[in-house]
Symmetry: C2
Subunit: 330 residues, 2 copies
């Protein structure tokens, strides 16, 4: 007779009990049945099944997500731009030199075409200028305070309500299967970190984005990090794989985006060995959210869409694939 | 009578069983009893005790560790420098311009005084030059291959054997208590990542260090990251709190170093609110390792030592506080 110590038996029960609790019937209830949902489920099964040839050890299960337009709404203007406009207005009296700057005029007028023509860099530079000369802690408080009171013009709700319910479920499903989930965004790290943990379950050290220069200095005898009016790194387009290298140090096996700014991240992910999963969110629901793609000034989806079709990446139709877009719809 | 479902009872047994297994009698067996060990244990108890006024929620339990001289040996030369010398020799035939460069001469001659005078920057620049024009994957392979064959001149062992056993125990003890442990090193990320996970249990995305520029490009139809002969960020001295801001986004509550290059990280950690723990490893064991401090060209400990004494930070005597330094001693 084989004697098994009581402790071992309890531990076996424990494992069964805990794993039974961790597996809900449908991990993606806000997704309609179809190719997109089936593709996600099949990918996760393949890379987590130890008997599969496509098994990937947990430490290599890295998934990267664009933020604006992929995890939350980005229309009619990137949320960070709206924040920037308010910060610019507040800082303008201290910056008489802005009067003749076309970027300043375009932003105050909310002239979308002029903003699109200017491109991200001068706009981000002005954001940096409007938000420099303070500690990173003071800036963090400004972001948190703004998010509490600002409301989206269409939905009349806090911007943090505009996170996509199906993507929250997808993030949780990946993490429940041993994935580490990262944001890789053109937006700045300090604008995402204050709310990404609560909204997505993604801690600050897994938020990769555009970085402002900060400088260590002693102020009144205390060490502080002061924000400089300079951008250290732009995490967009070809910058996304570079940001991934700098912070993650591993090639993702799954990547999620919605625009041409995500193309290089998706290509870089696709080019690795073994099973891969690349997904694009297509905004085609004008009623529940917005409909835009090839012609849009914000979140333009053109080259990435063509490549997705050519390479067989998953393209999510928000209209058809998502039962629920926002939690508040229910 | 209260009826408790069998499943709940099993889960309670499970929790008891798993927590009983996770708590060894002494988490720091390579540390001699004394103020250093007691200080670590008391700090961890205070911030993890939910009944304590000094309790810190798990997500804020961030601990940062310098690498060279804090987690592994750095004498007689930083390991990365030794690697660099070998890479320089290998690359020299392709770089005739190096012949008249004082940095090249100093490195080939292993002229420590000349190297110390030059400072880190020109040396790291030459390392970048000697190691550019290849993909990050090719470079990663070079580092791994070198580490397999290179041997330390004093200990005649692979360099990865020269990790400090007491610090490995400390890292594990912190993680067992909900801490996230990060390396914050002046060394380059690509030199540490290939072995930090196995040696310290620290994954690549928790390794912060000096960063070379890399560029996304298509090569033979495949997307690659090519190494450029430029340094993007130096993670040393006042750069350490900046690196922490960029990657972690939270102020550490505990920091561990051994030299003046760690001073600003220690100051930045100490300046936060609530309970804090700052520790310096003092190399005072010439027999088992090396003895050096204020006068050393490598790992100079002068200002940080004074500040540690003035502020009551923990100063570890390797000679007296560590029962074992290296696992191979046993």
């Amino acid at each position: 007779m084989i004697r098994i110590p009581t402790r071992v038996i309890l531990c076996l029960f424990a494992a069964a009990c805990l794993s039974a609790q961790a597996q809900p019937a449908d991990p993606l209830p806000s997704w309609n049945e179809g190719a997109s949902k089936a593709g996600i489920v099949a990918f996760v099964q393949a890379v987590t099944d130890t008997a599969s040839k496509e098994f990937v050890p947990p430490e290599e299960r890295v998934a990267t997500f664009d933020n604006d337009g992929t995890l939350w709404a980005e229309q009619p203007l990137y949320v960070q731009f709206v924040f920037m406009l308010d910060q610019l207005k507040a800082a303008a009296p201290k910056h008489p030199e802005w009067k003749d700057d076309p970027a300043f005029a375009a932003m105050i007028k909310r002239d979308r075409q002029a903003l699109a023509k200017l491109g991200q860099k001068p706009i981000l530079l002005m954001l940096a200028a409007a938000n420099s000369g303070m500690t990173v802690e003071a800036y963090d408080k400004t972001v948190r305070k703004w998010l509490e009171t600002a409301r989206h013009p269409k939905f009349k709700r806090p911007y943090t309500d505009l996170v996509y319910q199906p993507m929250q479920e997808l993030l949780a499903h990946l993490r429940a299967n041993g994935f580490k989930t990262f944001i890789v965004s053109g937006g700045s790290i300090e604008f995402m970190r204050p709310w990404a943990e609560k909204a997505y379950g993604i801690p600050p050290d897994q938020v990769i984005g555009t970085i402002s220069d900060v400088k260590f200095q002693m102020k009144d005898g205390a060490p502080v990090l002061m924000r400089e009016a300079k951008i250290a790194f732009i995490d967009d387009g070809p910058g996304k794989p570079v940001g991934i290298y700098r912070v993650i140090g591993r090639r993702p096996i799954a990547a999620f985006g919605n625009s041409d700014g995500d193309l290089q991240m998706l290509q870089f992910t696709a080019a690795g060995p073994g099973r891969r999963f690349m997904l694009i969110v297509h905004h085609d629901d004008a009623e529940r959210e917005y409909a835009y793609d090839r012609q849009s000034h914000i979140g333009k989806l053109d080259r990435s869409w063509d490549e997705a079709k050519a390479k067989g990446w998953t393209v999510v139709s928000m209209k058809n694939d998502w039962k629920t877009i926002f939690a508040f719809e229910k």
